[in-house]
């Protein structure tokens, strides 16, 4: 009996071996290798590498540019997470009910998600630039009312956020719609018979039942937000004056423009720790809440 069990587990192990191999090759090995590099003075073309302890980490945590990039990323992630969730939820509730052209609208809202982020970014650079300028001249909007979408330090991050929300809201909307359709119609019917208004049904029945989905979407949005790279690269290259330099863009600049490979690896380990902590906290929070439900 024991022998068979043992034999079985070897068999199972063989089955996962190919996946394990690639997991090791493309995930574990690079991960541990960058951990090692982050403790060295690795530099661009220089083949010599020396161990320098935690010096790169101290530099990262005392460097104004890097700390600024963390702050920029936090602001951006908060903005996108909140408003993408709100938009996605709003459209999901709208398109879940009896609405003409329901399927058509779902497809339309989901469409931006099929486009590459780089292309989306360039399209929006065009919208914020040429399209907006011709709009301004067509309606002769006074100068005081004009908005400098990507050139103003305060606006640039918001403009980027709007682009990201436009791109991803449709995807989260689909998740919400799927979860709304799981709510049993009897519940809603019963509430309607008891005289609940549409707004009351949403507030008292649909939203509470959607809480686990909101949690999941929030985690997905936060991790995606912290890893944002394409949009700032294509839209602003991090400018003006670092106002839109996210952590990933900062890491890229350190590693590939300044050639400081070791320092860049240390910065990416810091990013990894930040994302891990946030995900762990959200996960614990969700489990404690979800514990009573399930």
């Amino acid at each position: 009996m024991k022998y068979i069990k043992w034999k079985n587990s070897i068999l199972y192990f063989l089955f996962i071996l190919p996946a394990l191999f690639f997991f090791f090759l493309f995930f574990l090995y690079p991960f541990f290798r960058s951990l090692w590099i982050s403790l060295t003075d690795a530099y661009g073309f220089n083949p010599e590498i020396h161990f320098i302890g935690l010096a790169n980490y101290w530099e990262a945590l005392s460097n104004k540019g890097f700390l600024n990039s963390i702050w920029v990323t936090v602001k951006y992630t908060a903005f996108v997470t909140i408003f993408a969730n709100v938009c996605a939820l709003f459209f999901a509730l709208l398109l879940d009910g009896r609405c003409a052209f329901k399927k058509f609208f779902r497809a339309v809202f989901f469409l931006p998600n099929l486009m590459s982020l780089i292309i989306v970014s360039f399209v929006w650079v065009f919208i914020y630039g040429s399209v907006y300028r011709s709009f301004v001249s067509a309606f002769s909007i006074p100068e005081a009312w004009q908005i400098s979408w990507l050139g103003n330090e305060k606006m640039a991050l918001i403009s980027m956020g709007i682009t990201a929300i436009w791109q991803c809201a449709g995807y989260y909307m689909l998740i919400y719609i799927a979860s709304l359709q799981n709510i049993s119609p009897e519940l809603i019917e019963a509430a309607a018979i008891d005289g609940a208004s549409k707004f009351q049904i949403i507030r008292k029945i649909k939203l509470p039942l959607l809480v686990p989905t909101i949690d999941i979407n929030t985690i997905l949005l936060i991790t995606a937000g912290f890893k944002t790279f394409d949009i700032p690269l294509a839209m602003t290259s991090g400018g003006p004056a670092g106002a839109t330099t996210t952590i990933t863009l900062q890491i890229y600049n350190t590693g590939f423009r300044s050639n400081r490979t070791g320092y860049a690896a240390a910065q990416s380990v810091v990013l990894f720790l930040i994302i891990s902590v946030i995900t762990a906290v959200l996960y614990l929070f969700q489990n404690r809440k979800g514990g009573s439900d399930s």
Partner: protein, 447 residues
């Protein structure tokens, strides 16, 4: 039905594979056919013998890697002529414009360094890793202008030559000569004359400077045209002084001047839309006469002319003090090619570089790329604007050094500090102190 479709697909795939093989073979054929063509068309018997001798040699491929997209055609012409002379060598050019530095770094790291490559700003870094062949003492270097060679950022203090400089470019102020004539203005040679020019232009509702700061790299040239004459023309060893701690950003008053002039230009340009406008937008402003001046490198000539070919454009140096003697034009080697230290065919690579330093090749290169030649006795009037630049060169009012000797990791910090200063993020004292630290860190990192 499905089966038929699958069969059709697989036939298509097989045909595709075969077509692939066929192509590879046909390119081989043409490369081998070249010597024969050459035999038939060479008129002189001496050259024919020479070609015959070479045709019998083993074919040698050379891989040329660069990022100068606009030079693709010119290179193709040069390579064709070169291969006529050396039929056994095949030069293949690869042009990478999207992040060439990273791609080159990956090639070097995986031991696939191209035989001949443009290391651009990374040249010295690559050389310090031991990946570049030293060209010092090669006879073809005698064809290069001595000043260019000695001032070249590819030559280090120990006399190593890490790249062959082929052409020179300059950075300065492009100005619209028509606007200047109409308002009776002359190119300023002192800072107070510059103030006067700005005042007159603004009185006449013309934006003095076109700014395209959405592309943040366009900010840096404005400071380079100041530091080159103001600091490096007087102390050409400023970088070494800084590294050894004998000088610093905070203690060099000219750095304050540099940031002041940058602020002045920002304040007297399309300030409100500066960070919304990109490089092309700024070129458009000066081309359409909306702005009278723009600080840029010679490379901006082509885009400006392509928008408005009738524009009467001039180039002048930036005033940096009240002394007209200081107003010098910033000139520097632009395109340079290095040979990999590990190339299998060093002799053939040198032959190609030698070919590039010949006078007729150099003329062809410079007239098409609209740049000044680094080769002796080659001067090309590619544009009326060249006369302005030549006037500076002839009177010796040029300076050649600025950012090329800076440590690589410092460059990004420097670029970041410029926009932070003009947007008022920090005081000048703090920014200069930060530049001092950034320099020291960068020097340490590169060791």
């Amino acid at each position: 039905m499905k089966k038929k479709f699958a069969a059709f697909l697989s036939i298509l795939l097989v045909v595709g594979c075969l077509a692939g093989c066929g192509n590879a073979k046909s390119t081989e054929d043409t490369s081998q056919a070249k010597p024969n063509e050459q035999d038939a068309s060479t008129p002189e018997p001496a050259a024919k013998e020479d070609a015959d001798a070479q045709a019998s040699k083993e074919p040698v491929p050379i891989h040329l890697f660069h990022q100068k997209q606009e030079a693709q055609e010119t290179f193709a012409q040069i390579i064709e002529a070169f291969q006529k002379e050396y039929p056994y060598i095949t030069v293949e050019q690869e042009i990478v414009t999207n992040d060439p530095a990273s791609i080159l770094r990956a090639r070097v790291a995986t031991d696939e360094t191209p035989d001949i490559f443009q290391g651009a700003l990374d040249t010295m870094d690559i050389a310090s890793g031991g990946y570049i062949m030293d060209l010092a003492g090669e006879p073809f270097l005698n064809n290069i202008n001595e000043e260019v060679l000695s001032d070249s950022s590819f030559t280090d203090g120990d006399g190593h030559v890490w790249a062959l400089p082929i052409d020179g470019s300059c950075e300065g102020i492009f100005y619209n000569k028509e606007i200047f004539q109409k308002l009776d203005l002359t190119p300023p040679t002192t800072l107070s004359e510059l103030d006067h020019v700005i005042e007159v232009l603004e009185k006449n509702k013309i934006t003095p400077f076109a700014l395209g700061f959405k592309d943040s790299w366009t900010i840096k040239p404005i400071t380079l045209v100041v530091v080159s004459p103001a600091i490096y023309a007087k102390q050409d060893d400023w970088n070494e002084l800084k590294t050894s701690g004998q000088s610093s950003f905070a203690d060099t008053p000219e750095w304050k001047t540099t940031f002041d002039i940058l602020k002045k230009i920002y304040d007297h340009g399309n300030t409100k839309t500066a960070f919304d406008t990109d490089y092309n937008g700024a070129c458009n402003m000066i081309a359409q006469g909306e702005a009278a001046m723009m600080v840029q490198g010679l490379w901006a000539l082509e885009p400006i002319k392509s928008i408005n070919s009738d524009i009467n454009l001039g180039m002048m140096a930036m005033p940096v003090s009240e002394n007209p003697e200081d107003t010098k034009l910033f000139q520097f080697p632009d395109f340079g090619l290095s040979i990999s230290a590990n190339t299998k065919n060093p002799e053939e690579c040198k032959l190609f570089l030698e070919y590039l330093t010949r006078q007729d090749t150099a003329s062809l290169w410079c007239s098409s790329s609209m740049l000044f030649s680094a080769i002796k006795n080659v001067s090309v009037d590619f544009d009326p604007l060249a006369a302005d630049v030549n006037a500076y060169i002839d009177s010796g009012m040029i300076c050649t050094q600025a950012d090329r000797g800076w440590p690589t990791a410092f460059q990004t910090e420097y670029e970041a500090s410029l926009s932070e200063y003009i947007l008022g993020h920090d005081s000048l004292e703090n920014i200069l102190a930060r530049l001092d630290t950034a320099w020291d860190t960068a020097v340490k990192a590169a060791q």
